[in-house]
Symmetry: D2
């Protein structure tokens, strides 16, 4: 932390700041400039929150944070990339892993058909929501345990792993029983109670970035999970809120190389929610790969026009298969790889 004093701060104000810094357990380093004084504070990186409050002291113009506040999620703590093993599927390694499936689990046929289709195209993990966060209380809220069972049946039939969203700690045990990866949605990215709960789970967690969460805060949310002992966290950029209205969200691919630089955790991209438009999912998926993403999570629906949620952003299986072929070719010059497709029937 650097405390910047006002232009003509009194000596007594400066002394007071120095004394308070010391009282809080940090070592103050005053620097007397031509124009004003700044006080650098040296000490333990965590818990610096109290220094921020010195902002309120007379003569203080600003308190400027300097250092990265995350510890376990940062590259400094662990320089090498984290690779997470989900029943044999390696996440964060050379292979780009694709998760695909419907937004919501709607019925048995839909889940099984979609699972077969995405598996054939090269996906490794099936996505599908059984608990759905919906803006309106009058919209479909998910099939709950019935939906989880259908996902498990699809896993048995296809060998795909499954990822599904947990909306409340109350359902943790239930979701753990079925899911291979627990997803925390964007709206819960700062639901700290829920983050702590999955931090105690033995299952890997995919944490989505909140709609107005900075990259720094995103990593702090991951830190909540890691701090409880669960190191298997996959980050996922899924679009942020901006003034642009043509796309539902603004998929922020800048977050991919930034996260790769700051953190050792794998970073995925969700181009379906990130753009809200199926017609740009393909180019943005390719862009995500080129930006360095470790994987993608894509909405696929056998009949988008009949989807109970997010049909506008879902790909049909045939489009998804084409996209997977393109990604496979693109991975080569990037030094990555995408799993092969099965021969078409």
């Amino acid at each position: 932390m650097i405390i910047v004093m006002e232009h003509q701060a009194d000596k007594r104000h400066i002394d007071r700041v120095i004394e308070e810094v010391r009282r809080l357990g940090y070592t103050p380093h005053p620097i007397f400039g031509t124009d004003r004084t700044v006080v650098a504070c040296v000490g333990d990186e965590r818990g610096k929150d109290r220094i921020q409050t010195l902002d309120g002291l007379p003569g203080v113009e600003a308190v400027v944070p300097i250092l990265k506040p995350f510890k376990l999620a940062g590259r400094e703590a662990k320089p090498e990339k984290t690779v997470i093993d989900v029943g044999g599927v390696k996440i964060g390694g050379k292979e780009i892993v694709v998760m695909a499936g419907p937004c919501s689990v709607e019925n048995r046929q839909q889940v099984l058909d979609t699972a077969e289709a995405v598996k054939a195209a090269g996906a490794k993990i099936l996505r599908g929501g059984a608990f759905k966060p919906r803006t309106s209380p009058y919209d479909f809220q998910g099939m709950e345990e019935e939906g989880l069972k259908l996902l498990a049946e699809a896993r048995e039939k296809t060998g795909l792993k499954i990822i599904t969203e947990l909306m409340d700690a109350h359902h943790l045990e239930l979701v753990e029983r079925y899911a291979d990866i627990i997803q925390i949605g964007a709206r819960n990215s700062q639901n700290f109670f829920l983050l702590k709960a999955v931090g105690k789970s033995a299952k890997p967690v995919m944490l989505k970035r909140g709609m107005s969460t900075t990259i720094r805060e995103f990593l702090m949310s991951a830190e909540y999970i890691l701090a409880q002992g669960n190191y298997n966290v996959i980050l996922c950029e899924r679009g942020i809120r901006t003034f642009e209205t043509y796309t539902r969200n603004t998929l922020d691919l800048n977050a991919v190389p930034v996260v790769q630089k700051l953190s050792h955790l794998p970073i995925f991209v969700d181009p379906s929610h990130g753009t809200g438009r199926w017609d740009i999912v393909a180019p943005m998926s390719k862009a995500a790969l080129a930006a360095g993403a470790d994987g993608l999570i894509i909405e696929v629906h056998t009949k988008p026009g009949e989807a109970v949620s997010d049909g506008a952003q879902s790909l049909k299986p045939s489009k998804f298969r084409e996209l997977m072929d393109d990604l496979r070719a693109l991975a080569v010059p990037l030094g990555r790889e995408v799993a092969p497709a099965e021969a078409e029937a």
Copy 2:
């Protein structure tokens, strides 16, 4: 909903859209323009989500929502203003109600001193967090039940009502036992599971607007609570995320008259979190009143420099008292009133 077809959409695409609209239970009204065709869909306002998915059909350029999606929270359902009675304190009436107190409950002395001070200045409700949502897992997380007990003690001593934040449904019973009003924080404004839980509570709820929540979504979150039978919802604008960095958030006072127009629920303003700077809390409090707010929630700390959280945005009791005096005078030409201060000792 209005479905806009592409410039030269085929007749067969238009027919398909008309058929799908009918299949979804709405009455299609095609309008054949000089340049393109639009299909207006008439029917039940709720659950129109499925029409949105027609976006995916060939020949469709856009699906444009037209109507307000909230039902119970809207003025159309209930034109007259809602007044909530919290043990005799009327919220949403002529009187502007001020809630004040520390960000976090830290210790007995702090809570009791602050309670006495804000009461003397004219506040009616004491705020104080016992469960704290913090960006970092290494920051102070709140005194939990111990803190709730201190708030209750302050209530006994001063007669103030108390408001405190609930972060997870798991603690609902505990918080209900102590609080007069349950607060749902900005980070949980779309934690739908939690909204449903407090929707079943007998206690009034103050719902804060999320940092990137539109006004429409904010009212939909209120709708979640109302739809469960709890009609005692107080809305609270507390700043949104923008590109501006001088203030911690951008307090969006436009939301006050907009909410007043769309909804019958009382709307409060939190200038402390909304700006993050104690030095502009006073002018923004006045501005909130002038914009039509039904009340304010303000952070007051006897020693801001020693606060464990948000000291930079807390007022000292003396500044708070001055502000209350100013608000009292300002209320007169606005046709409102603010409770009198007690004579200074």
Copy 3:
């Protein structure tokens, strides 16, 4: 500037930074912390841009700017408030000055009628665009000199001063010939060539904040004008771009007390463009006053439904008169005043 070194930066990287800082004419103050080193740079506040580029040196994690970059616009240079005299109308003093009139000058009748109406209600300055910045090239672009003449005629008839927008330095002489105050619009708030041009004018300038301009950048744009010798600059907050779509822009009233704190220049508010909705212009005008604004600029149109531009945000004369009455009453407890209305005919 503070240069923050990486966690385990080499001594040779630190030495290189120190040497570069010295080469750029600043005095380096290295601070060796437990965890990393920071180098504070002391020297002339302006032109620190070159230090920012040290960001590119090996071992450097971040370069953090500390001080306010504006000089003439800042309170440090001139603590007392600037009052601008526009032919007897004092801007920035105790009186809150209201500018009002149509978005665009459309015809003689409209201008004269509106001028009479706003004058009768207590406005001191007539606004009206003769050159119009329009998003579409197919929209009405303004009456140009013909419009300026109509404004001048209205001035003669009513005694109101006039403010009108200058869109290009090419028209400066023409606009200077007619206007009492030259307005620089939001889209030109960083058109530095234009700012320099009006910096050499003898006429006062109203500078609107750009839609995505931070308060700091806004003051830097004012600095461009002041640096050329024109000290008569009125700032105007007129709404910023955010994710919220219910209002056309998000009127950022926080900017009012922040500007008052940082700068001695008068600050106005434009609630018409700032919200884009006539139905919330009145509450937001009151809120602007309460936040401390020195004046307002409001769109008034005798027939909003027939306006060639921005009819949706224009008040009718009768609503404007009511608003002025409300503002007059509100000014009293704020220690300000608003000019009296004329008796109604």
Copy 4:
């Protein structure tokens, strides 16, 4: 346009709207729904601004624009992609064209060295600013004509074409004399006077997206240039303003496929300004290609640490050469190509 009436709008209000729509030259199509009435307006797509003002009529809830407002820039007017020939360099074709060079022209050596280096790596066009838009009036403002001459000398020596920014119409003739492509910067993207001026130029124009310009407005700015007869417009995404602070701007790659869908004009990406960090320029350049960009404009400086502007986002020649090699390989699976590098000396 669709006009949505209020819930219980009077028949006389509806009739008034219908009459006004007709008066404005459009054909009204009222649709009487179960819950409320909407009036669709059919007619000429341009100049619909006046219908927007019906918003002000009693009983009207909202006026919703439906159709794309641009005409010449849109795919509907011209389905096939525009290819611009800049002295033999084809922009918008199969080849991905890279423009590179320093932010500002600083001196002869710098320009010539950088030109040689970027040419050797495969760039086709040299960028360099002679007129610089700077936030502070105290920062370096550019070498002006002296700088243009140095760029021209570099063109003679290397055969590269040159692109440079025009900040004011006043300098148009001067810049035209030297530049092969005229650049309009982000801060001038809605400087409509300047857009009209370059619309009459015979030189191709690169139009940068403004920091808070929607894609729709961006295309409307291009429309300004096209409407004057200059069809050689290259669009350039360069980052938008959001709440994220880690990157200087948020490079919005979503704009690439969206623009490709809506418009026939070539779309470039500027990852240097778009991110403000040289260390993520390479991954974001690759991502831009994969998203479908027609080219890139990248800042390269022989000594970033000594650059007078934007050193923090400039690549060294060696890094640029590596990036060009990577882009060349990446272009193959995308069905594009990048010019070969020259053999290293």
